[in-house]
Amino acid sequence: MANEKILIIDDDDDLVLAMRLPLEAAGYKVSRAANGEEGLRKVKEVNPDLIILDVMMDTTTAGFQVSLALRSPDADSEFQAFSKIPILMLTAIHTTTPLRFGPDAEYLPVDAFLEKPIEPAKLLEQVRAHLRTR
């Protein structure tokens, strides 16, 4: 069984629970941060193998900022060592914002989107897929 470390950065306890149960059942070690700032701290602390990242937390774009900080092209970035960790971003595909985005190296450097509501089977499938391509 896998025992990779997964960091969930999300402010919603219940959603974290809905993800934690299937992930732990699959043998992953799950840690959690409740906002962007704590998330970045935990990345350094835990050095996870994969990050599940929510967009709206204490600020509406906290998730974007976390991903931009982690994937900073700056060679002196404090997150240089963590820039290769796969990021799955949580979204509701049904969005009313006119903003259209997709995984994009420059604007939104994440590896894939996880649709809400969380389907445990799909979650595990995506996690496995991105851990493998690492």
């Binding site: 149960l21 299937p22 509701a92 006119p98 509501p117 445990p120």
Partner: protein, 625 residues
């Protein structure tokens, strides 16, 4: 009232000119009359006369008349003749005529001459052409000249020309005759002068009244026209700014003044802010609000009074007298704008002339204000309504946004539980949790639909990115999606477009929105068509519009349900009976989207036979920049 006095002078001038011409015509007759009269009397009737002087007088009259005619013609040609020129000319004519008359009288028998009666005409002419004073002057001159001639002849200083064949005996030496003749002549002259000048001045007064009246009528007509046009103009729009702009422009034009402004009361009802202005500098309109507390004038107007400020330089009621003076304003006229629920503000006209505004002007501005108040109130109500609608939509948007996230979490948790990650479930638990999940999923659909609808109404639609959508591609994509569900119900599902290979039919929309529209209509058609039925999607176009027809052989829509079909949360009773779940929002969203893209949706239906939805969109090949 400068305009009127100018045209009155013009009128008097025109009259003097016409009279001058008329006098010249008469004088031709007078000159010829003297020549012919002398000829007939002397040569045919054999009356002995001093022929030579009389002929000379006749010819002299004709000559100076020709001169006057030339002068008058030149004056008439001049662009701006001096106003006094005509009066001088009239006096000169009368003076020369007088001299000719005196000479004529002298040579035809002095006091005994029958020509004495002709002075009568001269007095009447003077009364017509000149003022009463001038008429009396000339009457005095006539009596003076005749008296002098009579006395000189009486005294033997001036030789008397005696027309012996007319009066046998010589009377000019008879003092009683001389006195009697003179007294009657003088009194006749003055009575004639009095009567003629009184009549003439009465006529002139009437003439002035007629001109003034007709001018007032014209002004009143113009203003009535303005009130009517203003009413039309301001009621043809509900945009407040436009209503106010039209009002100030029309009012200033009709009052023939430099500027006009409208100030509206703010929410507190304590200050008046400029809402529209015409003809005023920015500095003046931005000088500040009128505070009712410090502004007795504004207070009075708001209380419903129309107020004229004749001279801004000495009126204590003004809050900004120096600013007004600096702007070049001397007089102001303010009228209240009053709506059904009280004061709205005031309309104010500004003139550069002190004491410019008349009571007529005040009545006119009041009329404009009444018309304007109705329009302003309508525009304000319309604006409030729009705001309310937007607030409502924003509220729905916020609420549904807040609802989405917990529902989404509930669904995530339900899925985790049902997948067995929270422990094993017995059959009954599993069944019940499946029902909960089903309900939560429906709740999500409802929220998403509401969100769509609210987003469209909350003005977010304007921010969406329009693209050129190819209709055949958009339809083909959705048709593909419903092929399997249609097959499952053995529905003959057909999609056709005769013009498609040759013509690329495109409209301006969003890809997602167009998907939503077609998805809603085609899924309904398949949902409400019984097994073995038929669903057809047909695309065609004329020069300017594309038409998509979605026809089914389904359960149809009852006639009394048709008017409510596009209402939010409405579901036709037969649809509800057949399929329990449904938000009743699909068609409301569809109509909203279609309308946003400049299109139109129509429905025809026969219960038990089927339904046809027809969408029309303007064909667009390029997005407007």
């Amino acid at each position: 009232m400068r305009n009127q006095s100018v045209s009155l002078t013009a009128l008097v001038e025109a009259e003097l000119m016409a009279s001058g011409a008329w006098l010249i015509t008469i004088r031709w007759l007078a000159g010829l009359g003297v020549v012919l009269g002398t000829f007939v009397t002397h040569t045919i009737l054999n009356v002995r006369l001093p022929v030579v002087p009389l002929y000379i007088i006749g010819v002299a009259i004709l000559i100076y008349n020709a001169c006057f005619r030339a002068i008058l013609a030149r004056l008439a040609r001049a662009a701006t003749p001096a106003p006094q020129a005509f009066a001088y000319l009239a006096n000169a004519q009368i003076g020369l005529d007088w001299s000719a008359m005196i000479a004529l009288i002298h040579f035809s028998g002095g006091l005994e001459s029958p020509a004495v009666l002709y002075f009568f005409f001269h007095i009447i002419i003077a009364a017509i052409l000149l003022s009463p004073r001038a008429t009396y002057f000339w009457a005095a001159m006539a009596t003076l000249l005749l008296t002098i001639i009579s006395l000189l002849e009486f005294a033997g200083i001036l030789p008397h020309e005696h027309v012996r064949d007319y009066i046998g005996i010589e009377l000019y030496t008879n003092p009683v005759y001389v006195l009697g003749r003179l007294v009657f002549f003088i009194s006749t002259m003055f009575v004639a002068a009095y009567l003629a000048s009184t009549l003439s001045s009465r006529l002139r007064k009437r003439e002035t009244q007629v001109v003034t009246l007709s001018q007032n009528l014209l002004t009143a007509y113009t203003r009535l026209q303005t009130v009517y046009e203003s009413a039309e103009a301001v009621n043809s729009t509900l945009e407040l700014g436009e209503v106010l702009d039209r009002l100030v422009r029309r009012a200033a034009d009709a009052l023939k003044v430099r500027a006009c402004s409208i100030r509206l009361l703010d929410e507190t009802g304590a200050r008046l802010s400029v809402a529209a202005s015409y003809g005023l500098s920015d500095a003046y309109t931005q000088k500040g609000d009128l505070l009712l507390e410090h502004n007795p004038l504004a207070r009075q107007v708001i209380a419903g009074k129309t107020i004229v400020i004749g001279d801004v330089t000495n009126d204590a009621r003004l809050q900004y007298p120096h600013e007004a003076t600096a702007e070049g304003i001397r007089a102001m006229l303010s009228a209240p704008l009053t709506g059904k629920k009280g004061a709205l503000g005031l309309i104010r006209a500004y003139s550069v002339d002190a004491q410019h505004f008349t009571p007529d002007d005040a009545a006119f501005l009041e009329a404009i204000a009444r018309v304007g108040s109705i329009a302003i109130e309508n525009a304000l109500a319309y604006r409030a309504l729009g705001k309310l609608d937007q607030m409502k939509s924003k509220f729905v948007l916020t609420v549904t946004h807040e609802l989405r996230s917990p529902v989404s979490v509930v669904r995530s948790l339900m899925r985790t539980i049902l997948a067995g990650y929270a422990g094993d479930l017995n059959t009954q638990q599993r069944e019940m949790l499946t029902r909960v999940q089903y309900r939560a999923d429906f709740l999500q659909t409802l929220i998403d639909d509401l969100l769509d609808l609210a987003a469209g109404k909350a003005d977010l639609a304007q921010r969406e990115d329009r693209v050129i959508v190819r209709l055949d591609e958009a339809i083909a994509r959705i048709v593909e999606r419903f092929k399997i569900p249609a097959d499952e119900k053995q529905i003959a599902f057909e999609w056709r477009c005769e013009q498609c290979p040759e013509r690329t039919l495109t409209i301006s929309a969003t890809g997602e929105g167009m998907d939503r529209i077609l998805n809603n209509l085609i899924s309904n058609a398949i949902k409400y068509t019984p097994n073995g039925g038929r669903v057809t999607v047909h695309l065609r176009a004329d020069n300017a519009t594309a038409m998509i027809e979605i026809a089914d052989s389904g359960i149809g829509i009852p006639p009394d349900a048709l008017p409510h079909l596009f209402e939010e949360f409405y579901r036709a009773p037969n649809a509800k009976a057949q399929i329990k779940e449904g938000t009743g929002l699909g068609l409301a969203i569809t109509k909203d989207l279609v309308t946003r893209y400049g299109g139109h949706i129509a429905v025809q239906s026969q219960p038990g036979q089927g339904t046809i939805f027809t969408l029309t969109f303007p064909l667009v090949t390029e997005l407007p920049m």
